[in-house]
């Protein structure tokens, strides 16, 4: 299937209209010696054949394990209305709303999404999406460097190791001075952070809840940074926002996060949704599309892309970021999800995660030699120390139908026996019970 509408006959008519004798003539600019050396692709297949093939590939993935994997990416339930609405073709077959008259749907949805993010995080201004939580954090660092004109960034050890790696990759050629501060008892180590910052520091990068699932109150760090003219950046879990202290309340300057938990499927890593919100005064340094409300030539309310002078298509090499295509549809999904949830639903969802997580913490700590790292409060994820290598335990539990958690040794050398366990509202008492039993059985057969 090639999805080409014109028949061979029509193609001939059109060639004639163009005054050329053959399709080949249209490609005459391509020199003979640059004809493809090879173009060895499989032959065309029908929709049915390809669907069958893709289905057989899908069936070879273990998506059905009872999963306690998190690490910043969560298996929340997605109400059916999210798919039903986001799959309306007027949304998903459109592109960036360059022509506002034909894009009020997308534009108003972005404006509402920006409002969602501001209300969730307690910040003033949000953009209309970035690629993911990691690139969003990187962009926030770039913003801070540009705003402060300084050169040093201090990163808390509770920030996702995946995101830290990403930040370092992007900074490779940028001559930035990074310092990392390991956590203490699972939370940000105040003394160490305060020791690491100075007046050359552009930003302190935090995460809440952090990678170990631990909730913190970073207001003291924010306050101290403020004194020193340092910006604080906090990566947050959007669902936790309904119950924990927000970046706004904490005194954070720029907040970012991964919006996947808001109605976007796990999909083996993407597309996800980077969100970012900041204080009003920093908005001209923000990357990405921003939608503003205005009026049209008849005085009617209307929405447009605004502050475009920040962007690459206007400012080229001087743009705040190079982003062009973003994660619009993921932002739309997040907005639909949040609209369905509402204040009550979102709060209840967060509380359900808290309650179920607490249940599993208690249940697991009852297992001999399993220690739940319990010194600080957690949201929907927590760390356990096992008596043996966590990778091994997880591997054995897979045979029993569980994705038991994420072994921390992969990112934290020395933490070979530690495992990160996530719980969403989808996990039932029964699933958690049999999970604990199986873990017990694997450890103490």
């Amino acid at each position: 299937m090639n999805y080409i509408s014109n028949t061979k006959e029509q193609q001939k008519q059109m060639l004639e209209a163009c005054g050329v004798g053959s399709i080949e003539e249209l490609f005459a600019d391509i020199p003979q010696d640059l004809q493809p050396k090879s173009f060895d692709l499989p032959a065309a297949r029908s929709e049915f054949d390809v669907f069958r093939h893709m289905e057989s590939l899908a069936n070879r993935n273990y998506a059905h394990l009872v999963s306690f994997l998190g690490g910043g990416f969560y298996d929340h339930y997605i109400p059916a209305a999210v798919d039903a609405l986001a799959s309306r073709s007027e949304f998903y077959t459109a592109y960036t709303p360059y022509q506002p008259e034909l894009s009020q749907g997308t534009l108003q949805a972005f404006y509402e999404y920006q409002t969602d993010i501001c209300r969730l995080t307690g910040m003033d201004a949000s953009n209309a999406s970035l690629y993911d939580g990691g690139t969003a954090l990187h962009e926030a660092c770039q913003m801070a460097l540009s705003i402060t004109g300084r050169n040093r960034i201090v990163i808390d050890g509770g920030v996702s190791p995946i995101y830290r790696k990403m930040i370092y990759t992007y900074a490779a050629n940028l001559n930035i001075d990074f310092a990392e501060v390991p956590v203490s008892h699972g939370q940000s180590d105040r003394d160490a952070v305060f020791g690491a910052i100075d007046e050359s520091t552009a930003a302190v990068v935090l995460q809440n809840p952090n990678f170990f699932g631990v909730i913190d109150d970073h207001s003291d760090i924010a306050a101290k940074c403020k004194e020193l003219g340092i910006l604080t950046i906090q990566s947050v879990n959007p669902i936790a926002m309904s119950v924990i202290k927000t970046p706004g309340e904490t005194g954070i300057d720029i907040t970012t996060g991964e919006g996947q938990p808001l109605g976007n499927p796990l999909s083996f890593g993407g597309p996800y949704l980077g969100f970012m919100a900041a204080r009003r005064k920093h908005v001209r340094k923000m990357p990405g599309r921003i939608v503003g409300r205005t009026v049209d030539q008849e005085g009617r309310d209307a929405f447009v892309l605004t502050l475009q002078a920040r962007e690459q298509h206007i400012r080229r090499e001087k743009a705040t970021s190079n982003i062009c295509t973003n994660q619009a549809l993921c932002a739309l999904r997040a907005h639909i999800f949040l609209s369905l949830m509402g204040t009550g639903g979102l709060t209840e969802l967060a509380k359900l995660c808290l309650a179920k997580t607490e249940f599993l913490k208690q249940r697991l700590s009852s297992i001999k030699s399993v220690e739940v790292m319990n010194s600080s409060p957690t949201f929907n994820e927590f760390t356990v120390r096992l008596p043996i290598d966590a990778g091994e335990v997880v591997s054995r539990l897979i045979d029993r139908g569980f994705a038991a958690g994420f072994p921390l040794g992969r990112y934290y050398p020395g933490m070979q026996n530690y495992m990160l366990v996530a719980v969403t509202e989808k996990r039932t008492k029964c699933e958690m019970g049999t999970y604990a039993e199986n873990l017990e059985d694997v450890l103490w057969p």
Partner: protein, 484 residues
């Protein structure tokens, strides 16, 4: 129509959560607790469905009608791709699963998709290896720039600058700058619309890290002297970057790898039919020549001797992590299905028909509109509304006039080097009937621009809003709704 927050009714609910199964509630210590009350909208499922249904009615997609937005390749998005992406075995797959011990075996289907797609892209572009991780074209460019930097720094080269044709897309200079390079624009030759080779020759120095090219370029013109560009670049150990946004023009006809490009990004959301999503997500996989392979981001997907697939992180010279996982996987999935359906012959026909459709439009409009570079174009043609602008009908006015005729306008005011530019990319999926309708509309507009130029000012009149005030938007900075 009202903003969704204005429709909110306190206490209304749109969704019921799973039972709490009697778990006792957990109190968060007040120190950690949210203080400010949460003020999301409160609506029923019906309210939400009606709101977004109405919003959708204020949008225009490829499924609505012709969408010849130049440089964006707004081709038809086959419906089967959505069905494939929704398969639970893909949609509900956690990305950390293959990172567990022996976890690769739990995601063989997904890893096969990645591996095979990378190899198909290699064959299509003539490159030696691909990474799927970049999440859009610009992200691919940035990745490419970082690969180039890694190459040079590995060789001990001290390179500071990237040269970019003046007609290039804005993301090119922006990406180079963000990767730490200074950039310099290379002029375009007035006569043939290609990069000015003499100027280039002069500009390239040992400081030059790379030259970024788009071929066909944003004027829709294929540069037959591309080998000379490569030769000039490589003479100075500058690498040659290929912006693959326009790949739809040349599949099966030309492979950047054969012309000695070192780095290539392709836009799956353009060439390979994945939907544009109202602005994204896309995917911008990057391909490289042999000498750059060792720098590709990790993880990489490898095929082992026993024909199983695995993630491999053991590339000490890799630039590292550019994405949390394996890119915008479900976009890649759709592109993979697309390529399998089309096959070699189908992809070649795609380019043939994309080019034919663009030339057909250009020929039909050449009498009534200025064509700055009147020659065979590739997948898109760039007109200028200069003639109309003299009567007061600018490119923007023509765009608004087209809206009232039921079409999405072409890209306007890009490329920047053409005054009053209208960049028309019809794509191969559009039929002659559709093109003829569009041509007729353009000709009517050209006529109206002569006979009644004033009439354009009210346009569009068929939409719910008309020419929103952008200055006011920038001044008001109303980015989030607040209740009065």
């Amino acid at each position: 129509m009202a903003v969704i927050f204005e429709k909110s009714v306190p206490g209304r609910r749109g969704v019921d959560l799973p039972s709490s199964e009697g778990f006792p509630p957990v109190e968060i210590d007040s120190r950690y607790r949210r203080g400010e009350s949460l003020n999301m909208c409160e609506l029923s499922e019906l309210d939400v469905v009606r709101h977004f249904t109405e919003l959708s009615q204020r949008n225009f997609g490829v499924d609505t009608n012709f969408y010849p937005l130049g440089s964006c390749t707004m081709k038809y998005n086959p419906k089967i791709a959505e069905k494939v992406a929704a398969l639970r075995g893909f949609g509900e797959l956690h990305p950390l699963l293959p990172q567990l011990r022996r976890g690769g075996m739990l995601t063989q289907g997904a890893l096969e998709v990645c591996y095979e797609l990378e190899h198909l892209l290699c064959e299509i572009t003539g490159m030696d290896a691909f990474t799927l991780q970049p999440m859009a074209g610009a992200h691919g460019e940035l990745t490419g720039m970082m690969l180039i930097a890694a190459y040079h720094s590995n060789k001990g080269n001290e390179k500071k600058e990237v040269l970019i044709p003046d007609e290039a897309h804005g993301t090119n200079p922006a990406s180079a700058a963000i990767a730490g390079y200074t950039t310099r624009p290379v002029p375009t030759c007035r006569e043939n619309g290609r990069i000015d080779l003499d100027a280039l020759e002069e500009m390239v120095t040992d400081e030059t890290a790379a030259i970024m090219m788009t071929n066909p370029n944003t004027l829709g013109i294929f540069n037959s002297e591309i080998k000379r560009v490569a030769e000039i670049a490589h003479r100075h150990d500058a690498l040659l970057y290929y912006d693959g946004a326009n790949l739809n023009a040349i599949m099966g006809k030309f492979r950047p790898g054969d012309a000695l490009f070192d780095v290539v990004h392709v836009n799956l959301h353009k060439t390979f039919g994945t939907p544009h999503g109202g602005g994204g997500p896309g995917a911008g996989p990057v391909g490289v020549a042999e000498r750059l392979v060792e720098f590709l981001p990790i993880s990489r997907v490898v095929k082992r001797a026993d024909s199983t697939y695995a993630l491999d992180y053991d590339y000490p010279k890799s630039i590292g992590y550019i994405a949390p996982f394996y890119g915008n996987f479900s976009v890649c999935l759709k592109a993979y299905a697309y390529i399998l359906m089309l096959g070699a012959e189908g992809l070649r026909e795609v380019s043939e028909n994309a080019v034919l459709n663009a030339n057909y439009i250009m020929h039909a409009l050449k009498e009534k509109f200025d064509i700055p570079y009147l020659r065979t174009c590739m997948h898109e043609c760039v007109l200028s509304a200069k003639r109309q602008a003299e009567k007061g009908v600018r490119a923007l006015d023509i765009a608004k006039g087209l809206i009232d005729k039921g079409y999405h306008p072409p890209t306007v005011y890009f490329p920047l080097i053409v005054k009053e530019s209208l960049m028309i990319e019809p794509t191969e999926t559009e039929s002659k009937e559709t093109l003829d309708g569009f041509i007729a509309a353009m000709l009517e507009i050209a006529e109206l621009a002569e006979s009644d130029p004033e009439s354009f000012h009210a346009a569009p009149i068929t939409t719910s809003v008309s020419r929103p005030d952008e200055t006011k938007a920038a001044r008001n900075m109303d980015f989030a709704f607040t209740e009065k």
